[in-house]
Amino acid sequence: MSLCLALILSLSAFDSKADIYYVIDGESFTLTPSVNNLFQYLWVLDPASGSPISTTLDQASGGVYTRAVTLAAPAVAETHTLTLSVLGVVDGCLSDLVTHTIIVLPKITVSVTASKSNFCLNLPVDASLTASVTAVTGLGTYGVTLSPFVWSKDGSVITGETTSTLAVTTPGVYKALVSYVLPTTGSYIPTGSKLTNAINGLTTTILHNLPVATVPSISIN
């Protein structure tokens, strides 16, 4: 017990920056240690902040850490730190601290607006769809970018359409999506990522069923 105290008091213990993980705002993620029979796992989220969150896991749990991090501002990506130290045996030595980086990316909504969403039955469908992405900031810090658009109609991807506008000539349910592109160079190359539910693509339906007005028959009396 005095060993724990000694290590906690002496933060001059060797500190290694280890993994970088990308996760999504509010989406839970799970980190599993490769050694699952240590006596105790001590996780601390954001130890240097005003409100660190400590989680102590016992041997039975295998040290598996599950958490969801919520962004302070929903559209601004944030860096969080997660430290792990372990005790091999009760009253044993506390390991050096390993500091991992958790980069939390905002959820993105891609909405599609149509120039015209319904057409007269006697006219061809001729709509122009424009996709817009919720503004998010902070991605440039890490070198994260958004992919080109991917349009889909009725659930099937329309190949070759990668810009923010789509000329539409047939009715259907249209959706545009982007995805996060994680960096492959620089200081924030991911060790792992969990990006499910990152993007919410809103659909726009193009209809072609506006009735044509019938010209009434004229009779002279």
Binding site: L7, P33, S34, L38, L87, C93, T191, G192
Partner: protein, 482 residues
Amino acid sequence: MKRIYFLAFVSTTTNTLYPILYLMKFVRTILVIVLNWISLVAVSQPANAVYANAETHSANVTNQANAINAGAIVKPDNSFATLTASTVVGTTTTWIQLAFPASVTASAGTPKTVYVRTNDFSAALLGGGIDIEAYTGASGTSGALSAPAYSTYALSDGTMLLGVVLSSTFRSVRVTLRSPAALGSNSLNVYHAFYGPTQTNNSNPYPFNAADCGLPNVTQTATSGLTVGSFGVSGAGNAIDGDPTNTKSTFYATGLSVLSGTISQTFYFNGVSNSADAVRLVLSQGGSLVALDLAKSISVQGYSGDTPVGTSVLLNTLLDADLLGLLGTSNTRASVYFAPKNASGVSVVFDKVTVSIDIGLLGVALGANGLNIHDIRRVPDMPASSDITVCNNIGSGIITALTSQESILGSSAFTYKWYSVLRNGVSLFTGKAYNLSGLTAPGQKSYYVEIEKGSCGVVSARKETKVTTIAAPIAPLLNLSP
């Protein structure tokens, strides 16, 4: 007891006297050093000892004025009267009677011990002898007390004290020397007689002096169960003269017809010990006895007054392999520590220690140069310290030591020194708390700490303090579950 003479100088504060003051200081320092050395070797009397100051004597006594504290003679000193008793036709006796300034009150309940300092007469008195009687008068033989036989104590300077316990009021003691059984002469030097007016027990009447560096005042030798042959302890006073190297007392036994009996030497310290005191013995053997056999036949026992305290300990239990090796080599000194403790391991206080050899246990002849005691003195027992465990990823820790005697003598009385070996070696650090660093390899290392009380130069035994370095685990790699 040490005597320190300070020469007082009256000085006036003028500049011209400063050089003279420095010279006076220098001279005084030298004088103090010289007198301290002398007193370390001189006899140990209580500071308030009362000396006989009048004498009467028979024929064949020379320099009788030297035996009393009167006129030009200031006791204690090293001047003496000489008694000579010769056998020519028949045996004769020669005596000197030493009277105290006033009658000395004594009773069976509060006896007084009178000590007469003489030269070492343990070499045979050729069948003659010495008697001591006490009388109520300052002279003459009226009012004779019934006195028990005297006890003989050896002093560090080679002289002896004959102590006789008197249980009724007396004024003088008479020392009688008897001539040899056959033709020849005996002689005896008598220095003085004294008693301690504030003595509190009969076995060790000296007042306690905390600054005595642990040396015994007097020592006694005894044998039992041995009759034929030449046996005993020679040079008894050498064991308490403060020189742990060259001078020594020697237990010897030659020409024994049976191999049984004991030879012992008892050491009287300057009053009762502190709690958690120990004794450091410097021993060697002059022969070629097997060290383990010799050690198993030697026992060490502490006493408080005449009562044994603590368990009697066989010397072999105090020796490790290194010390056995030293003791096994002829004339090679080994320093052994003995801390009197009771059966529960609690330290006991003592004012006397006896070292005995059991000839029967030894099983072989002790020889002419059996066991030598070079030095014996009281030292503090080793301090207490706690083992520590250090994580190799921190790599540092502090080991501390503390002696229980700090509560008696204060913390500034002790110097703590740390070593990496049990004996000898170079001190790594001085102080109670030793900061260690660089402990990165898992394993165990021992450090040893000793204490020195004041500036006596004699240190306690070393306490082993274990530092265990254990390996810290490594935080494992992670896997992000999708």
